[in-house]
């Protein structure tokens, strides 16, 4: 994978930049090469590069001060939450400053009557729920990385989770934010109310991968916890049947909070790893519903009836909390279990639910053609797939082979009417595939948005857009005039 050549002029004034940052933010600047290693990558660990320096401000005002200095010096800034991005979103370049939110974790206000919380975005996802659960509330988006990942990263990536089928992703739960622009201006957008008229800046900032501004505070929607939740485990002897069952459940008007899917390679790996007691079959669904005990019974009865019409090899309802935890245990340890099988690339394409059987079959064929193993574990209710390509990083050429397979699978997702990434973001990982999904005019329109927020393209500049497409802008030239039309499909 290619990264831009570091700006020699910036590298040459490293000492000056560090000195200015230290003077403005005493005790918040890291420039020691050994300590900087902690910031050389995110969860896409195949790619590493220590930054020029890392800054860990304590307040929005300190963030603004750091941004002003970087802006004046022409130094690229890479915002960082917890560094769990799977797409290389927080991967530095050698000429960049990492701006980390790790010290900004305070809860600033909680209002249960208005069902909102305001906090500093360095706070981890799970600890948002932690701050409100005593009063019976929770924060809905629940990425599997929720113990570690920060709200800052969630907003930048518009992260999702298993329960998004019912509650939506980050953008649907974000009401307002405080953002510092590259020039150091502090802007407040939205607040503890709904739907400001005027352009939906909140909507476009969420999911912009740290390219439009540094988000330091946020207003999030919190929700009352349901009375209870219970999963059911359904096993099938073919992935096609499992896919058809998912469609039938949705079609019947039942809205489970989660429908998770695991295929045989994934079941085998998690079984060996966690001993969750899963049946050995071609495909497993975990369907979870919420409500009072009686409501749960009523919903599960209907889901059971639909599932039985697809002749499942197993249908296991959790009788108590213990059994429920066991059903989820395997799913939650799936990534860890895959990690034991070897190195893996986790893909994140989304497809229309109706295309599940076809796409699963084609993934199997594409993997076989390259002699690689793919395990599937994903959010089936919304078609957000997570094919895991297992490979051996020590075997020469295997990473490249696995990446090539990844590109084929994502192209397949787009051709099936879907997209490259449902929740992990583009980062550097899928940057060069953007042209598969978007035409020139489509990318031009997105880059025009960045021109407005960050005219000199200093914020996380080497991400999201193919390097060729963004080159003129990154090098400070005039934005090229877009030509050409885009493909007809949406």
């Amino acid at each position: 994978m290619q990264m831009p050549v570091p700006d020699a002029a910036v590298l040459a004034k490293t000492a000056q930049v560090v000195a200015r940052l230290e003077a403005a933010l005493p005790g918040a600047v890291i420039s020691d090469p050994v300590e900087l290693r902690a910031y050389e990558c995110d969860a896409l660990t195949a790619y590493r590069c220590p930054p020029l320096a890392a800054v860990l401000p304590r307040t929005t005002a300190e963030v603004a001060a750091a941004m002003r200095i970087c802006s004046e010096e022409g130094v690229p800034v890479v915002p960082r939450g917890a560094g769990t991005s799977l797409a290389g979103g927080s991967l530095p370049t050698a000429d960049s400053v990492i701006l980390g939110l790790a010290r900004m974790t305070r809860v600033l206000e909680v209002d249960y009557a208005d069902r909102v919380i305001r906090l500093e975005t360095g706070r981890t996802n799970l600890s948002v729920t932690g701050a409100v659960e005593e009063a019976g509330f929770f924060y809905a988006p629940d990425p599997s990385s929720q113990l570690a990942c920060a709200i800052a990263g969630n907003i930048a990536m518009n992260s999702g989770g298993a329960h998004c089928l019912k509650y939506g992703v980050t953008t649907n739960n974000l009401l307002g934010l405080t953002m510092v622009t590259m020039e150091g201006e502090v802007v407040e957008i939205g607040g503890p109310w709904m739907d400001a008229p005027g352009l939906d800046l909140l909507g476009v900032i969420c999911g912009s991968e740290g390219q439009l501004g540094v988000v330091t505070e946020a207003w999030l929607r919190i929700l009352p916890k349901p009375e209870g939740a219970r999963p059911v485990l359904i096993g099938f002897d073919s992935s096609e049947t499992a896919g058809a069952c998912v469609s039938a459940i949705i079609r019947a008007g039942l809205l489970p909070v989660a429908i998770e899917f695991m295929d045989r390679p994934c079941i085998e790996a998690t079984e060996a790893f966690s001993g969750a007691g899963y049946p050995m079959c071609e495909a497993l669904l975990i369907v979870e519903v919420e409500g009072s005990p009686a409501e749960i019974d009523a919903q599960l009865a209907r889901i059971g009836a639909i599932a039985r019409s697809f002749d499942p090899v197993e249908l296991r309802e959790a009788a108590d909390a213990d059994e429920a935890a066991r059903i989820w245990m395997g799913r939650k340890s799936a990534f860890g279990a895959m990690g034991q099988m070897g190195d893996y690339i986790c893909l994140d394409g989304t497809i229309p639910v109706s295309e599940l059987p076809m796409v699963l079959r084609r993934i199997g064929e594409l993997a076989a053609a390259r002699g690689l193993k793919v395990a599937n574990v994903f959010h089936a209710g919304d078609g957000n797939m997570h094919p895991l390509i297992i490979f051996d990083a020590n075997a020469p050429g295997q990473l490249e082979e696995a990446e090539a397979l990844g590109a084929e699978i994502l192209t397949l997702c787009v051709e099936a009417g879907g997209c490259l990434t449902g929740e992990h973001g583009v980062g550097v990982e899928k940057r060069d595939l953007m042209a598969v999904q978007y035409g020139e005019a489509d990318l031009e329109a997105q880059m025009a948005v960045k021109d407005v927020f960050d005219p000199h393209w200093l914020l996380n500049p080497a991400k999201v857009f193919p390097l060729g497409a963004s080159e003129r802008r990154r090098q400070g030239g005039q934005p090229p005039v877009a030509v050409g039309d885009s493909p007809r499909d949406i």
Binding site: I189, M194, S208, G383, A445
Partner: protein, 359 residues
């Protein structure tokens, strides 16, 4: 009025355009943009509808009624419950799906289910330079590149002409009931803060209204549990009686046929009682307090309304001008930082100011 029949025709027109245009679908929101009127109502037709995947793609000019009928035939609906402005504004014509998205028009269920923008999965549009742009797609989860879908939803035609939208739809629940009683905003907050999945929370015609929807068994249970938790006396309305109440809230029926300016105020829900007290005007309250409709006679009290909203937090939009002087902007003025970004975006997408009068 100029009718546009295809995206290509539109792209060509906009690429060579130097004079302002006022773009609309059904023109039911009574917009008064400058310039020649351009109707997108010809970009019509449902292009894809997959009930099993909960998605629908339609030309922007497709009448809302056509979309809703197609969904109803499959037991589905637009969960954000778009309002029909005709009764309130005394307009005629057919609301279009593109207009709904461009105005981010959402009804009572918005408070829990989300707004039109939350159900919009993809858009195609032609910007002021005549460039045809697509963004998003037709899948539920999509973080590929920037979310211009959100930017276009609610943009009121300021950035370009939406030609096609792709929407997430949801099943119509089996049952709905409304609890009607007393207590106002604090009671609505208690209901919305309960685990009983309230999908409507309004004060209209002096009554506090709480809606529950879902499977019959579940609604029956929640209705009892919620009434017990809230205390007080609750009349229970079912089926069509309940649905009619919420259509009334959605379309602000209590104001129909009455003179005066109509303000749509998005406010912090807990502050709605203060707002109502400060102004003392006739009101319909929705979204648990988060949305306050005000009917104001005379000069419409623009300064007082905006000052109160400024103090309490939120936005006041002038939906019907009534006696408010022509110079008062319909939208709450934005803070400088936001205005600079908004201005930059409009210049980027519409450098010649073709849509400058939109809104």
């Amino acid at each position: 009025m100029r009718e546009i029949g295809s995206e290509e025709e539109l792209a060509e027109l906009l690429a060579g355009r130097n004079a302002p245009l006022s773009v609309g679908g059904g023109f039911t929101r009574g917009m008064t943009g400058e310039g020649e009127r351009l109707s997108a109502a010809g970009l019509t037709g449902i292009r894809l509808y997959e009930p099993g995947a909960l998605t629908l793609v339609a030309g922007a000019g497709t009448p809302l009624a056509e979309v809703e009928a197609a969904l109803a035939a499959e037991g589905q609906r637009l969960a954000f419950e778009p309002m029909d402005h005709r009764g309130l504004l005394g307009t005629s014509g057919q609301p279009t799906i593109g207009g709904v998205v461009a105005g981010n028009v959402s009804g009572p269920r918005r408070v829990v289910a989300g707004a039109a923008r939350d159900f919009c999965l993809g858009v195609r549009f032609v910007d002021g330079r005549g460039h045809v742009v697509k963004n998003g797609g037709r899948v539920m989860k999509n973080v590929t590149g920037y979310d211009l879908v959100k930017l276009m939803a609610g943009s009121r035609g300021r950035l370009g002409v939406i030609t096609e939208v792709s929407l997430k739809v949801l099943p119509v629940p089996e049952t709905e009931v409304t609890l009607a009683g007393e207590g106002g905003v604090p009671v609505l907050a208690a209901a919305l803060g309960s685990p009983f999945e309230v999908t409507g929370a309004a004060v209209s015609g002096g009554r506090t209204l709480i809606r529950l929807e879902g499977l019959a068994e579940s609604v029956a249970y929640r209705q009892g549990a919620l009434a017990a938790r809230l205390g007080g006396d609750w009349e229970v309305l079912e089926g069509e009686a309940s649905a009619a109440l919420w259509r009334g809230v959605r379309d602000v029926a209590p104001f129909h046929g009455k003179e005066g300016a109509v303000w749509r105020v998005a406010v912090r829900p807990g502050r709605a009682p203060e707002l109502l007290e400060a102004l003392g005007e006739e009101a319909v309250v929705d979204w648990g307090g988060g949305l306050v409709w005000l009917l104001v006679g005379g000069d419409g009290r623009a300064e007082e309304v905006r000052a109160a909203v400024e103090r309490l937090g939120g936005h006041a939009t002038l939906v019907r001008r009534g006696g408010v002087p022509a110079g008062v902007p319909a939208l709450q003025p934005e803070p400088a930082g936001v205005a600079r970004l908004t201005g930059g975006l409009t210049r980027a997408f519409d450098p010649r100011g073709i849509f400058a009068g939109a809104g």
